[in-house]
């Protein structure tokens, strides 16, 4: 599973977690976790609250000691390295600017700890503040900042020490929606400028998708799937993952290669499978047509609910007595409740995984 990287590139920051395990008074928080983060990559550690993602972050930062397993950064085993010598910066949800210091002193804190002279510190702090668009804020107190500004200062404070790895623990969940997008852009821009490797912990799947190049999905202390956002969306490895990523359509089928039978219907998929499977299709992938056309996977349906959300129209379609699907279409497509329509399920969008009769114990929001 783990292959040692012998390229000269391995000198660049590169995080490996191997068999990382942590228990808190008998309860397993993280269970033999394996993960690799490439240099310069943005990886999101995604999962519901209490899944062990924050514990994983704390172990990487050195705040919590793992029970077993190793943490390797840049070919150096970190397990016994104290947090202040790991070169790993942490940005927490609450921002946690030191209230007794000015904004400038906060940003320069890491340099001060490294014995950098005052003049150089001030100069670098001001430059760093300019990068997060807070020029002229150096002499303010953290209590005078808004939530978004405080979070930007926290970011500047972490980046000024040029960390080998930047850990962000729910950095934006305390901010409101508009500000969050602005901050996402800023973080991504700073990441592009500095090339810092980033690990973001979040419970918000939308945020993980926007922010990261790869997502590591975690449930109950175990990694379930590590993939690009698009793959996790389109090809979830099981129903829990699919539901967590916002999947709502699930039905059982009998698969024979690319032909899947369910409720006396035959569906065509691009994917080969055999046996009992659980089929899923993203609600926004289903096309709803007012008039039928003779094409595979085009099924007659009845609209039984129509909910307008502003950006979408969420239709519930009855396709067979035991089969209802949700289709999220553009708001301009309006259908009456009770109207007969046609639903087209694109073969590339039909995905399945081996059927499980026992439901996962994970509570999905």
């Amino acid at each position: 599973m783990y292959k040692c990287n012998t390229h000269p590139q391995s000198l660049r920051p590169h995080l490996h977690l191997q068999e990382l395990t942590k228990q808190f008074s008998g309860v397993t928080a993280v269970q033999s976790l394996w993960l690799e983060v490439q240099a310069g990559e943005i990886l999101a550690l995604l999962g519901p609250s209490g899944c062990g993602k924050s514990t994983t972050l704390q172990m990487i930062a050195g705040v919590v000691q793992p029970d077993s397993g190793t943490i390797t950064l840049n070919s150096q085993i970190l397990n016994r390295v104290p947090p202040e010598r790991r070169d790993i910066a942490l940005v927490l949800q609450r921002g946690l600017l030191f209230p007794h210091l000015t904004v400038g002193e906060n940003v320069a804190f890491g340099l001060k700890m490294r014995g950098v002279s005052r003049a150089e510190r001030d100069e670098k702090a001001i430059a760093m503040l300019r990068q997060v668009q807070l020029e002229g804020f150096a002499d303010r107190k953290p209590s005078e900042l808004s939530g978004g500004q405080a979070q930007r200062v926290a970011l500047a404070r972490s980046l000024i020490i040029h960390p080998k790895l930047l850990l962000l623990d729910e950095p934006l969940s305390a901010l409101d929606a508009n500000l969050r997008e602005e901050m996402q852009d800023l973080i991504l821009r700073l990441q592009a400028q500095t090339g810092v490797t980033m690990l973001i912990v979040t419970h918000d799947q939308a945020e993980a998708v926007v922010m990261s190049q790869r997502i590591a999905l975690m449930f109950e202390g175990c990694l379930r799937q590590v993939d690009t956002p698009e793959q996790i969306y389109r090809q979830p490895c099981d129903e829990t993952v699919a539901r967590f990523m916002g999947g709502v359509n699930f039905f059982a089928a009998e698969a024979h290669g690319r032909q899947w039978r369910s409720n006396d219907l035959t569906l065509l998929s691009e994917y080969d499978h055999d046996g009992c499977v659980q089929v899923t299709i993203r609600p926004e992938q289903i096309q709803v047509l007012a008039e039928g056309r003779s094409q595979a996977n085009t099924l007659p349906a009845t609209v039984i609910a129509n909910r307008f959300t502003g950006t979408q129209r969420r239709l519930t379609l009855a396709i067979a007595p035991e089969l209802t699907l949700q289709a999220w279409v553009t708001p301009t497509q309006d259908f009456r409740v009770g109207q007969s329509v046609w639903a087209y399920l694109p073969p590339s969008a039909l995905w399945c995984f081996p059927h499980r009769t026992v439901p996962y114990p994970v509570q999905v929001p």
């Binding site: 050195g62 104290p82 947090p83 946690l96 007794h100 700890m113 209590s143 850990l167």
Partner: protein
């Protein structure tokens, strides 16, 4: 306006009792039915600073004992308060109750035993012995104050500081201590004033050889020199007031904890 007059009222009520003391300390006899004394004098204050009255000696001893006691109770109270305020461990509630016992149980009940132990240790009648018994009430107060300070302290600041490259010692001096400074000031104020005003424990353990300001005052009270007693009484209040003023200055700059929690 109402608020201002209320504050004036409070000040008057608090300070009015001191007025007779001030008059006494400058009066050359003050007898019924005089509303104010006929003759004024500085004699009592001169007497106070002269070595024969031993007031200055008592003041210095009190100051030394109170400062040492405060520092020692801080040294015990800081780690103890942090442990109880931040950490979870079995027997925590029992320990909290145990901490309160020196405050609950009257020193009269324990003095005999304490004196017995201190005599055997050769500490009876020494400054160190007095400091040790002063620690009995000050450590619980200090620990309780600092426990609630630490209960409201976000240890995330320390985590954050370490991830930015601060060693544990740097975290303590640059982050933790500045952030809990208001709580330390309050705890130190408690400890200092308790020690400063302590009479009974000093009286027994000091065995007349450790002569603090309350001892001086007690002796003088028996002597019946009202003028000198008044002057000493005023003097004994001054350090407390000074300390309180300094503390309120420090607490005004309290941006850290939003007060010192539910002390």
């Amino acid at each position: 306006m109402l608020r201002k007059s209320f504050i004036i009222l409070v000040i008057v009520v608090l300070f009015l009792p001191f007025l007779p003391l001030v008059i006494w300390s400058f009066a050359q006899g003050w007898f019924f039915p005089q509303l104010i004394p006929n003759q004024w004098t500085l004699q009592h204050w001169l007497q106070l600073v002269s070595p024969t009255s031993r007031v200055i000696e008592g003041l210095l001893q009190s100051l030394a004992i109170a400062l040492i006691t405060t520092i020692l109770s801080l040294l015990v109270g800081l780690p103890a308060g942090r442990a109880i305020g931040v950490m979870e461990f079995p027997g925590k509630e029992a320990l909290k109750l145990f901490l309160l016992t020196p405050i609950i149980v009257s020193p009269l009940a324990t003095l005999m035993g304490i004196q017995f132990v201190l005599i055997r240790l050769g500490l009876n009648g020494t400054l160190l012995g007095v400091v040790l018994v002063h620690l009995m009430p000050t450590i619980p107060y200090m620990t309780l104050v600092l426990t609630s300070v630490f209960a409201n302290f976000d240890t995330g600041y320390e985590t954050q500081a370490r991830s930015l490259g601060a060693s544990p010692l740097q975290v303590l001096s640059q982050v933790t201590l500045p952030l809990i400074a208001p709580g330390i000031v309050v705890g130190a104020l408690f400890a200092f004033l308790i020690s400063w005003n302590e009479f009974l424990l000093t009286f027994f353990v000091g065995a007349g050889r450790v002569f603090t300001l309350p001892m001086v005052l007690f002796t003088l009270l028996q002597g019946g020199n009202n003028g000198l007693v008044a002057a000493v009484a005023i003097t004994s209040v001054i350090p407390g007031l000074l300390f309180l003023l300094l503390a309120s200055k420090a607490l005004e700059n309290d941006t850290a904890l939003g007060g010192f929690g539910n002390v």
